[in-house]
Amino acid sequence: MSKLSHNPRLAGPLALAGSVLLIVSGLLSWSYEPILGDISVRFWPVTLQVYAIVMGVIALLLALVAAGPLGRWSQHIDPARGLRTMGVTAAIFAVTTLVAITHQTGGLINANEGVWIALVGGLLIAAAGYLRPETKVLDPAEIALPAWLEIIVIALLVGLGLYTAQYALKQTDPWVLVLLVGMLIGVTLTATRSNMASWVGGVTMRHQRVFLLATFVVVLAFPFTQGGSEANLNIAGNVLIFAATALGLNIVVGLAGLLDLGYIAFLGAGAYVGATMSYSAFATIGWKPPFLVVMLIGGLVSSILGLIIGSPTLRVSGDYLAIVTLAFGEIFRLAMFNLDGQSGPMITRGSNGINAIPDLNFFGFNFGQTHNILGIDIPRAGNYYFVLIALIVFVIIVFTHLNNSRIGRGWVAIREDERAAEAMGVNVFGLKILAFAGGASLAGMAGTVKAHMDQAVSPDSYIFLESAFLLAAVVLGGMGTVGGVLIGAAILKFLPEKLRFLDDYRLLMFGLVLVVMMRVRPEGLIASKRRQLEFHDDDEELAETVVIDELEAAK
């Protein structure tokens, strides 16, 4: 985009027209056939049409900021970037819908006027975004509304989060789900690009306790909203285990900057500890301590492995370390295969794995049964959900405390410049080892729960691809952030569970997304400002805000 092509006067009307078109398209028919939740009916928006309207409303808001009554907001919100992202998202959304219609009905001919209008609307919005120059804006995080209003905003946001999760879990059509998630990602990116997210960040920072409490309540309330659905809670459980492990990896990769490509081995070690010490008939260790002890042992075993694999970091770093950890992950998997009593000692039962692991039982509370709490059935997966929530809260507390401590700053220093850190008196080797051992122990603990939840362990669940998935969760979400990794983990675990019959193309998409992501937004969906700076080191304005933030944090 050359400077000459900027034409801000044209941008406003274009954006307005585009967003109105997008909203109107939601009221029109999208397809001749009643597919994807029946998008063929006019003036009765469902699924995709609703998403189009949501995007249209956001674009309209930005358009009004760009030219119109909300003009004074443009001090804080940059409509140009927001419109670009929203417009491109809407256009991609429309094109994907066209593909979906072609796929479902066997011909592009079945696409009705609505989807074409949405496409035009999206393109107009994007064009408006590119016609308008990017402006430097003030950080809206400082704008404070009355406290009660901000708390209502938080409640609404958190409620919206629960509703979205709920809604997404209900969707059965894979195309609808893909488009929904795409729309959500687009909206999130629009919010961050246009600086709107920064205000939300400011609000949550000012009322941190309220926000945490609200989130916690919603998270605890989630199983009660599922009406005893085992499947959805199972997905939620898998997401939580994955997220706990990814947070552990986030310490190693996100904070300390040590790339680990064999991280799944730590989860696996924990799972094998949990399995071999369980009451399963196939368990190979006679000692059956209480589960909490097993959990600690699992964490301990994993952290010892972490120590072993971390020790080469004294001499190896960067790409070489990645390969060392990759080799380690493969060694773990192969060893689990071989400890089957034939090629090695009998510990893991090789490729058969250890099956029939009984459910947990805390003081007579059997996790395998459905319990009725407050008149609502909490099925088996729900029980595990609560344990996993406890685990993940623990992990998050550990993570944030480490992050804001001397140790965390040491890690960041190592990540940025190892030699300088060493010269400043940071105990480089000790901290690296701590990152590996600490992260690994979190994964190990998650693994012990996983063994019971899955009722089986086998070496096939701990292949390299799983490590790649974990890494992707960290990278896609945003390295070094808690929220980002949780979102990354949720997307990466939730989508494949729901898209089971697109099974064949899942991994294909995954590979593609990784590549596209690294080119489009390498710092992840939710980026810590410091990370962002690393990937865009010519952005001086950003550099300044980072320095200011750091100084404030140090006070």
Binding site: L259, L334, V475, G511, L512, M518, P522
Partner: protein, 319 residues
């Protein structure tokens, strides 16, 4: 004694494969310090390129004259994929933090594997079922075409069994190594490549087209990997979409063992790793199931204690 000799022969065979693939890692690393994690997949693409050539041009034909054609097909497929990969996935990230290209490489690796797995007999993926040449599904092992004279009976040299494909593999390595040596040391672009690897900025100032040299490096690596893919197919008589991962990792081990960035080192490293592995199968505790564990342990030990490898490449700071 015969047993040792037999294991060394086996080791040289498998080692030649490692060496052919390892060259690709080393050439690229030597120039842009990038571990091309997806290189193992290029090896796999080469094998499938050969299979496709055979299926398109002369299905069922096993005469010796098909060999050069399937080799050309393999090399063409692998080089095309490698060049496109460099262009869209690596070049835009050349100045990004080091994590970025590595993650892209993982993405490409998964993508290529899956593309072959689901797309081999259905190139348009889920749009329509197009399969003009009756390609088999690549979800399981696929039978690799035979070539008369190379897939035939093995020789027996006084108790030592010499497979014909093994001879072919070693010959491929020998020819490739000689050609590579000639190319690097005796041709203009080979010398330009040396210059870029020593100092890309100065090389650029001297009028060398650095981008083209980098693409050439990717292409050379891909061509040799494709040859390895054909040799692998002839040896094991079948190929699969997963074969690139473990061979890629082993070949990387070989490249590191020989000193990454050092081309002779890659060849020596590959052969040494192959022989070590064969001997491990015979004499190390655990035998065959544990051989990969030994190989990866060697990788870790070398990276930790002698990151410059046995041949000692230029010492890189990343180690």
């Amino acid at each position: 004694m015969e047993l040792v000799a037999q294991q060394i022969v086996n080791g040289l065979t498998i080692g030649s494969l490692y060496a052919l693939i390892a060259v690709g890692y080393t050439v690229v690393y030597g120039i842009i310090q990038l571990i091309n994690f997806a290189h193992g997949e290029i090896f796999m693409i080469g094998a499938f390129g050969a299979l496709s050539t055979s299926l398109i041009l002369f299905p069922g034909q096993t005469a010796l004259w098909t060999l050069p054609l399937i080799l050309i097909g393999a090399v063409a497929a692998a080089v095309a994929v490698a060049v496109v990969m460099e262009r869209i996935a690596y070049r835009p990230l050349r100045n990004a933090p080091r994590l970025a290209p590595l993650i892209t490489a993982i993405g490409i690796s998964v993508f290529l594997q899956e593309l072959v797995r689901v797309g081999y007999n259905d190139p348009t993926l889920f749009i329509s079922d197009a399969n003009p040449f009756d390609f088999p599904s690549a979800k399981q092992k696929v039978v690799f075409p035979r070539v008369d004279g190379i897939s035939g009976e093995s020789f027996d040299l006084g108790g030592i069994i010499l497979q014909r494909p093994a001879i072919f593999t070693v010959a491929c390595l020998a020819i490739s190594a000689i050609w590579l040596w000639y190319y690097i040391n005796r041709t203009r672009s080979g010398r330009a490549m040396q210059a870029v690897s020593q100092d890309p900025d100065t090389a650029r100032l001297m009028g060398i087209n650095v981008d083209r040299i980098i693409v050439t490096a990717f292409a050379i690596g891909a061509a040799l990997a494709a040859v390895a893919g054909v040799a692998y197919g002839l040896q094991t008589t079948n190929i699969n979409f997963k074969m690139g991962f473990i061979y890629g990792l082993k070949a990387f081990t070989a490249a590191v063992l020989g000193g990454i960035g050092n081309i002779q080192g890659a060849v020596v490293g590959g052969l040494v790793l192959g022989i070590l592995e064969s001997i491990a199968i015979q004499y190390f505790p655990g035998g065959s199931p544990w051989k990969d564990i030994w190989a990866f342990s060697i990788l870790i030990l070398v990276l930790v204690f002698r990151p410059q490898g046995i041949m000692g490449a230029k010492v890189v700071d990343r180690a």
